[in-house]
């Protein structure tokens, strides 16, 4: 590689690269990705909306229907060699008490939540284990869908009885 620029050009090029990157980061990328907007330009361009919609938006108590506070009993069947996801829609700080048991074998599960409007695939796990029954409670750390991923590694279907108490709306089995 014989190509080489003289020192003045090199310094100019490096400074230009740095300035361009800094300007793009401060006015466009950081406001749009993280809602960090030191110049206020991101706000004026309407870019900060992108990051805000991914964050937990402040809850307007009148705009959302009351979360139900009642007991529900749900039957779910996990087919042989399959995994299914059962989710609840919950607002931030909503609390759920749960108990579930299988009709036989143990299932691998991941109790987790995904923030509303998130497109990055981010999720937060609250419990991961392989059990045939579990009892507990959790409070949603953010608006979004929260629930279980159960995996049936056996060769016959496993039925789960799930008892729920608290503030939530059932989304059900995710395709």
């Amino acid at each position: 590689m014989k190509y080489s620029v003289n020192l003045t050009t090199l310094i100019k090029a490096s400074l230009a690269a740095l300035v361009l990157a800094a300007v793009a980061l401060l006015t466009l990328i950081l406001p749009a990705e993280y809602n960090i907007d030191p110049t206020g330009i991101g706000q004026r361009l309407g870019l900060t909306v992108l990051a805000q919609s991914a964050e937990a938006s402040p809850v307007d108590p009148e705009s959302i229907p009351e979360s139900t506070a009642s007991q529900q009993v749900i039957e779910i069947t996990v087919p042989a060699n399959k995994g299914i996801e059962y989710k609840l829609q919950m607002e931030q700080y909503d609390k759920v008490t749960y108990e579930w048991m299988t009709d036989g074998g143990s299932l691998y599960f991941d109790l987790h939540g995904e923030p509303e409007g998130d497109t990055t695939g981010y999720f937060e796990s609250y419990a991961i284990a392989t059990l045939d029954t579990m009892k507990g409670s959790f409070a949603a750390p953010f608006n979004g869908s929260h629930g279980w991923y159960w995996k049936n590694a056996s060769t016959k279907p496993v039925a789960i009885q799930l008892i729920l108490n608290g503030q939530f709306q059932i989304i059900g089995i995710k395709p």
């Binding site: 590689m1 620029v5 020192l7 690269a17 740095l18 990157a21 995994g83 695939g121 991961i128 995996k151």
Partner: protein
């Protein structure tokens, strides 16, 4: 010789610093995610596809490749450097996932950004001009390839991939990455070979590599901020 030793040591140091903390989820879309979480056993073609798609849509990997082949005029050199890159990222992709090495995805992606900055600066002859020596470019491609591989590994590690069929699925993903890379490379080479015949290529070489450096700096700033705030 000195340069390759120095870059070796630097690379190792960075590796050691990074093998800590937890992986962070990003970079895979929803449908791919639910597939990865729910799949069981060997799924060769789907993993092949995910690997190829990840590479073809991974602008960070593509920018680095563009930088690497920018001044490679002989196809033998292109093949050599791309092979070095492939060896590098395959090692850490397999090692990272199979060995369950936890590295922070933001820091890895920041280093991938650094690799783009490095290549732009190197293409301008910056190291020779500023330091009087140039880090061995083959070693650099290999070592930065290792980081690109960790980047690929972190994208898969967000999921509890079932042990059953893991190795085969992983190899399928790896082969997919290479297929995606060659597809991307084909387009880049066609475009670049066409452009090379025009006098504007040399004239814009400085500008192109300046922009490459700038894009790398943007990636670094983006990922380091992500590391700091998330």
């Amino acid at each position: 010789m000195l340069s390759s030793q120095v870059s070796c040591r630097l690379g190792l140091m960075l590796l050691l610093i990074l093998i800590s903390s937890t992986a962070f989820a990003h970079g895979v879309d929803d449908s791919t995610r639910s597939f990865l979480e729910q799949n069981t056993g060997v799924q060769f073609i789907p993993f092949l596809y995910i690997g190829a798609k990840h590479m073809l849509t991974g602008y960070d990997h593509l920018l680095f490749l563009l930088g690497v082949i920018f001044f490679l005029y002989r196809s033998r050199d292109v093949l050599l450097y791309v092979t070095m890159f492939t060896i590098g990222h395959s090692i850490t992709l397999l090692w990272g996932v199979l060995g369950n090495i936890q590295v922070n995805a933001h820091l890895i992606d920041a280093i991938i950004g650094l690799s783009v900055v490095y290549k732009g600066f190197d293409n301008l002859g910056g190291f020779k001009r500023l330091l009087g020596w140039q880090p061995n470019t083959r070693w650099a491609v290999l070592i930065f390839g290792l980081f690109h591989g960790f980047g690929l590994a972190t994208k898969l590690q967000e999921f509890q991939l079932p042990e059953e069929g893991l190795l085969t699925n992983l190899l399928a993903f790896n082969i997919g990455v290479e297929l995606g890379q060659f597809a991307a490379l084909a387009f880049i080479l066609i475009a670049i070979n066409f452009w090379r015949r025009l006098p504007s290529y040399e004239r814009f070489a400085t500008l192109t590599n300046t922009l490459l450096m700038s894009a790398g700096l943007m990636l670094m700033g983006y990922q380091l901020t992500g590391f700091a705030v998330l």
